[in-house]
Amino acid sequence: MLSKLCQRAFKKSIWVYHANSGGCNGCDIEVLNVLTPYYDVERFGIKLVGSPRHADVMLCQGPALRSTAKALERAYQAMPAPKLVFAIGSCACGGGIWYDSYSVIGPVDKVIPVDFYVPGCPPRPEAIVYGVAVALGLVDKKVAPVKLKQLEFPIARYHPEDLECKDDMVVYTKLDRI
């Protein structure tokens, strides 16, 4: 019975450990910023801790670098389950500008499993708070993959008489002729 209660408490008391595996400091400071008066994530029971042993969530900043990948992995293993990993910022999410450089391994999810991505360079504190809120289930995520097409394909190239202008779009009207 108590164990169920314990599991439910997890989302209401998140202790975070921030691991910068080679970022530029920008995301670090924004992460610190969300602790400060204007954003104050302690409202949600979030607290910064100094040892990964005490942490529930690891905030990763910066790309995984060759020199820090091992350390990052150790930090991840040092955390007790259940644990979440947030990739904060473009470097952690996708490797940043230097994603293919000789000393960069890439985004942190090449080294450790990542649960949530907060893009931005650096993400504004609101974006981090939002990421936290998504993780806590307070709000739903807003982004979804976008796939846009100027025209439906395949179109028959040589039936210009079937092309029709609707608003700004050129639409092929008689699909059965294809």
Binding site: C6, A9, E42, R43, F44, G45, S51, R53, A81, P82
Partner: protein
């Protein structure tokens, strides 16, 4: 005999429940007030309960070489504080006043520290051993202060019995002995150190040695340590109230309890404000500070001995 034993058990269990229930609340107040001082909204007051619940459900990582001892020290940390709660009056007379005296209480306080020390040593991390070293150095200089407080009480009343030292009107409003007042000042100044808060949290110093003795602990063990720390704060405050401001404790049960809680609330507020407005001292500075307090407490003892 049996009746008094039964009564002791009932009040003792009541004390334990009170400590377990109220300690996280005090912590919650501290966090909330600290947040307000820092212009923040702060966590909900019940946040520490959630923290402990969560820790109880987390994975327990054992990185030390003697896990049995680590477990024992985690249990001991909470058990020692709760045992101490049997010796402190909370709303009613101290439950085990017939099973131990003031000296035992001082040594029980040491036992609380010993569990942390063992925990740090058994974890064997370089940082935790720094924490152990600092914690022990602080205990070395702090423990005598409380001892003087008790001895002054004992000298004034001629008794080491808990209910005499704590509840007799040594420090009550009726007679304000100089030594008692001086000791009150000394213990108020050292309260912050007793409960291990900023500026005297050198042993845990998060930005230097990352929570010191507790760095390797996670899950339920960490939960127990944290719970013990919160409980320790509560029990210390209750002890201080018992030593210096026992008025109201003779009132009927719920009333006396409320008065006690109010007084503890004031102390907690004091701890919060001091903690929020100071930078952490270095261990050598802390030791010098305690040493100065020790000299002051010696003066108090001398005063008590010559009858002031």
């Amino acid at each position: 005999m049996t009746e008094s034993a039964l009564w002791a058990i009932v009040t003792g269990v009541a004390n334990v429940i009170l400590v377990l229930a109220a300690a996280p609340f005090c912590e919650g107040i501290i966090r909330k007030v600290t947040a307000r001082v820092q212009s923040r909204q702060g966590p909900p007051i019940w946040q520490p309960y959630l923290d402990i619940l969560k820790l109880l459900g987390k994975e327990d990582i054992e990185s030390g070489e003697s896990p049995g001892l680590q477990r024992l020290s985690a249990y001991l940390s909470l058990a020692a504080v709760l045992t101490l709660a049997w010796f402190v009056p909370m709303g009613a007379a101290a439950p085990l006043t017939k099973a131990g005296d003031a000296i035992l209480v001082i040594y029980l306080l040491t036992l609380c520290g010993v569990s942390t020390l063992l925990a740090g040593l058994a974890a064997g991390s370089t940082y935790s051993l720094f924490g152990v070293s600092r914690e022990m150095m602080a205990m070395l200089t702090l423990e005598p202060l409380l001892a003087v407080g008790v001895i002054v009480g004992a000298v004034e009343t001629g008794s080491l019995r808990l209910d005499d030292v704590l509840n007799a009107s040594v420090y009550s409003l009726a007679a304000w002995p100089l030594a008692g007042i001086l000791m009150l000042v000394v213990l108020l100044f050292s309260l912050q150190a007793f409960v291990g808060r900023v500026p005297f949290d050198t042993a845990e110093a998060e930005t230097e040695i990352m929570e010191g003795p507790l760095i390797e602990y996670s899950g339920p063990k960490l939960g127990l340590f944290k719970y013990a720390q919160m409980s320790k704060l509560f029990v210390y405050c209750a002890l201080l109230v018992g030593l210096f401001a026992p008025w109201g404790s003779q009132w009927p049960y719920p009333l006396a309890l409320l008065v006690l809680l109010a007084k503890i609330g004031v102390l907690v507020l004091l701890i919060t404000l001091v903690g929020a407005t100071h930078a952490r001292y270095r261990i050598d500075q802390a030791i010098r500070y305690y040493a100065a307090l020790f000299v002051l407490s010696l003066v108090a003892l001398t005063l008590a001995l010559v009858g002031f």
